[in-house]
């Protein structure tokens, strides 16, 4: 996955316009109208301490429609109860203020019981957004004192989460420097067994944060030139080999240790260069700041890595340590999700719970491959094991990828 992150040169004053593309989602393409129903002009009745608003999804001659029984309410708690009568193409309703999602319901379908959400609203204008409806945006007006901060909670929590994630990423890269240093020392000693062990210990650091740092290039590098691409220099592999630049980084060392079974002068030079490239990467990354959607897209990117490279055994072609990388990708993704979770669960508790459940399932599946007798702590992901087990693991990951891919738009609109 390409994130919206732009490539960053080493010399640039890093950190400023990193995230110019992080668009606050523009909602709906169609124009906004006020609710046209008869009850639209009176304020919603109050019951059980909240204004009660019914949202009806129905099919009509000009497409499925979304209607409010009251387009106004007094400031305070408002409960929206959504009934999908027969609108087969509508599955989602959101309450939006200035492009921020305040509350929503998904998985709506005709025949299911009505569902409701309650939000506390201050005076002002809001939109009810029904993607796919003939009129996608309905105006909802609240009279009374304006809110102090309608989504302050979620937005603040998400912002805090991004700062914590930045610390996690920096800490991981610091750990990587230490581990790569130990790998270089072991390689320099000429001890193949020790070097293999250190290789397996160093790999997970990069795999945990890869999606956050994979865009870095050395200064003066032309687009597309792998000579200055730090991700290439650190993590290229046989299937991504650029013959003009040649073998570098982790997998050049892996190839020598496992396939060649020997440490050569070239292996030692590769280990030294890996150490130097890792230091450059870590120093660049200290300037990084993140938006909530970067965490979401980064987590999705790590799972794409699992699906595309690890499960297929392509990443660790010689050592078969793919499950070690898998575990690290998964941990990195789960961390990013964990930092979003406090804010996300205010915006969309159902999605948060679904993603959490799916993470648990993948973690549990992977856990069955734990084998402490192996370098790296997981069973070797050999072609034989892949042929029997890859499909089930792949399905478990896909079941996580799909709901996870919904998160970015939720948190991006909550800023």
């Amino acid at each position: 996955m390409r994130t919206s992150r732009t490539r960053l040169a080493l010399t640039a004053t890093a950190g400023l316009a990193l995230l110019s593309v992080a668009a606050c989602g523009s909602s709906g393409g169609s124009t906004s109208t006020t609710a046209s129903s008869a009850g639209g002009s009176s304020a919603a009745p109050v019951s059980a301490g909240a204004s009660q608003v019914a949202v009806a999804l129905t099919s009509g001659s000009s497409g499925d429609t979304c209607q409010l029984d009251h387009a106004q309410a007094a400031a305070g708690p408002v409960t929206f109860t959504v009934t999908n009568k027969d609108a087969a193409s509508l599955t989602e309703v959101e309450l939006i203020s200035d492009q921020r999602i305040l509350g929503e319901k998904e998985n709506l379908a005709p025949g299911l019981a009505p569902v409701s959400f309650t939000v506390t609203l201050g005076g002002g204008s809001y939109q009810l957004y029904c993607p796919g409806a003939a009129t996608e945006n309905l105006t909802f007006t609240v009279t009374g004192a304006p809110a102090t901060s309608a989504t302050g909670d979620a937005a603040t929590l998400l912002a805090a989460g991004t700062k914590e994630y930045a610390a996690y990423a920096a800490q991981t890269l610091a750990g990587m420097q230490t581990a790569v240093g130990a790998l270089e020392t072991a390689v320099a000693s000429g001890d193949v067994a020790a070097a293999k062990k250190q290789y397996a210990l160093a790999r997970p650091f990069y795999e945990k944060v890869e999606s956050a740092v994979e865009g870095f290039v050395l200064p003066g590098t032309k687009p597309g030139d792998n000579k200055g691409n730090l991700d290439y220099l650190i993590d290229m592999r046989a299937s991504t080999l650029d013959p003009a630049v040649g073998w570098h980084g982790f997998h050049a060392i892996e190839r020598d240790l496992w396939r060649g079974g020997a440490i050569t002068a070239s292996t030692k030079a590769q280990a030294a260069q890996l150490r130097s490239d890792t230091a450059k990467l870590a120093s660049l990354a200290t300037a990084l700041t993140y938006q909530p959607e970067d965490l979401a897209n980064g987590a999705a990117g790590l799972l794409e890595e699992v699906q595309s490279n690890k499960i297929r055994g392509e990443e660790e072609l010689y050592s078969h340590l793919d499950l070690v990388d898998f575990a690290a990708n998964l941990e990195g993704a789960e961390q990013a999700f964990a930092f979003l979770k406090p804010g996300l669960s205010k915006l969309d508790p159902a999605l948060t719970a679904t993603v959490a459940t799916q993470f648990d399932r993948v973690v549990a599946s992977l856990q069955t491959y734990r084998d402490t007798s192996q370098v790296g702590g997981y069973a070797a992901w050999t072609p034989a094991l892949r042929s029997t087990d890859a499909a089930a693991l792949s399905k478990a990951v896909q079941a996580l990828q799909d709901p996870l891919s919904q998160i970015a738009q939720k948190v991006a609109t909550a800023q």
Binding site: S26, S27, D86, S89, G111, P131, G132, R361, A399
Partner: protein, 423 residues
């Protein structure tokens, strides 16, 4: 004939006639001068026979408020995609309920030829709700038939009391060579249309919206229909023989043999048996055609029973030849499968030819995706017990995949498939 069976023609539907010159070209293979072909030859004829060669991609079927589920009595479309699913471990009754409701809504939209949501979301950070590959394509007479497997009614979802009365795993049958990878499933989708891309889009998006609840189990991609509905020319299976000459066609026959009556919430529905039947087509091709005809019990080109001259002549199983031997071998496929020899048992076949490429032995991997509908699965069991035990064709075919599913009736608008299970 209801809306379920014949498509609503699109605006500006074009009729393609064979024309004066084209009439003869109906196909040396197909026509062979049968009464049906002759009646269709006139350049101005607009009888049902014309439709058999007509592919009208603008045709569409209504989903809601029909007497029976789509894709059963529906005139067989040209292509089929069949996929089964398992409920993933730990998925809940509520998740199954939401899945059936969302599948129902999405199927109704897909059958109308519309995307199931935004292809290009209005938010930059959003993934598409619809994957987009059917944008600009016509409905192509798409039907999606949802099946509920016996496993759904085990202890997992508390649905045991609602189990359709005759739904149970098929018993082991003679000659079964089933592989677990192509057998069973908690849910199934039979997706048929006249445009394979439309079918693929449907199954892909239905699988996608359900991925946290169900996992794919097996699939077969059927590329050509191997059974006919009313007015359709009898198509050929990959053995090169017409398949389904004596298939059920009339509504009254379906009422008798296919649709469920007085079956509670399943009334109006049916049972589906699916078998993936591998054919060793290269070995078959090396057999002399006269022997192939003995194996099947019919002539290859015309499709006539060996006791008759034309395709729709009734076979005479009592007729004997010069040496006193039956003309139609009692172990031929036709003799063993015929209702006359099975106490009137008969089923609606709705199969498709498939290929899986080349197998591990370097042979063409192909066969018949056998799909049949019946109001009592024991009808299939009785037929296959006999066929599996002694069919001369068994030398050339293997049943490698299998499934049985209850096909619930179509919901009314505003409701969903299987809604009665959750009330």
């Amino acid at each position: 004939m209801t809306d379920t069976d014949r498509p609503t023609p699109g605006v500006g539907r074009r009729r393609f006639f064979q024309g004066a010159a084209g009439g003869a070209a109906l196909g040396a293979l197909a026509a062979g001068g049968t009464a049906r072909a002759v009646s269709a030859q006139g350049a101005t004829a607009t009888s049902a026979e014309d439709d058999r060669e007509l592919v009208d991609l603008t045709g569409q079927y209504r989903f809601f408020d029909q007497a029976h589920p789509p894709g059963v009595a529906t005139l067989p479309q040209r292509h089929a995609l069949y996929m089964t699913f398992d409920m993933v471990d730990g998925s809940t009754r509520a998740a199954l309920q939401a899945l059936l409701a969302r599948w129902t809504a999405a199927i109704s939209v897909l059958m109308a030829g519309r995307p199931i949501g935004q292809v290009r979301p209005s938010r930059d950070e959003a993934v598409g709700q619809d994957t987009g590959e059917a944008v600009g394509l016509a409905p192509a007479t798409l039907t999606v038939t949802v099946g509920l497997g016996p496993g759904l009614f085990d202890q997992r979802f508390g649905l045991a009391t609602h189990k359709p009365e005759l739904l149970a795993a098929l018993p082991q049958l003679p000659s079964d060579k089933l592989t677990p990878e192509t057998t069973g499933g908690d849910l199934s989708l039979q997706v048929c249309s006249d445009d394979p891309q439309v079918s693929y889009h449907a199954v892909r998006n239905l699988a996608r919206m359900a991925r946290d609840t169900v996992a794919t189990r097996w699939t077969v991609n059927g590329f050509g229909r191997a059974s006919a509905g009313p007015g359709q020319q009898t198509p050929r299976n990959l053995l090169g023989f017409k398949d389904g000459t004596r298939n059920l066609r009339q509504p009254v026959e379906l009422d008798q043999h296919v649709w469920l009556r007085d079956a509670g919430w399943m009334t109006g529905g049916t049972y589906q048996v699916v078998r993936k039947i591998q054919m060793t087509v290269e070995t078959w091709d090396a057999d002399r055609v006269s022997d192939q005809e003995q194996v099947i019990g019919r002539t290859k080109v015309e499709g006539a029973p060996l006791t008759g001259r034309q395709e729709f002549d009734a076979p005479d199983f009592a007729a004997t030849g010069a040496g006193g031997q039956p003309v139609i071998d009692p172990q031929s496929h036709v003799a063993l499968a015929s209702p006359e020899n099975n106490g009137g048992v008969t089923i609606l076949r709705r199969g498709y030819n498939y290929t899986d490429g080349i197998d591990q032995y370097g042979q063409l991997d192909a066969g018949l995706l056998f799909i049949a509908y019946m109001n009592d699965p024991d009808s299939f069991v009785r037929l296959q017990r006999k066929l599996g035990a002694s069919d001369a064709l068994n030398e050339y075919i293997s049943h490698v995949g299998s499934g049985i599913f209850a096909i619930p009736p179509t919901p009314a608008s505003g409701h969903y498939i299987g809604e009665q299970l959750f009330t």
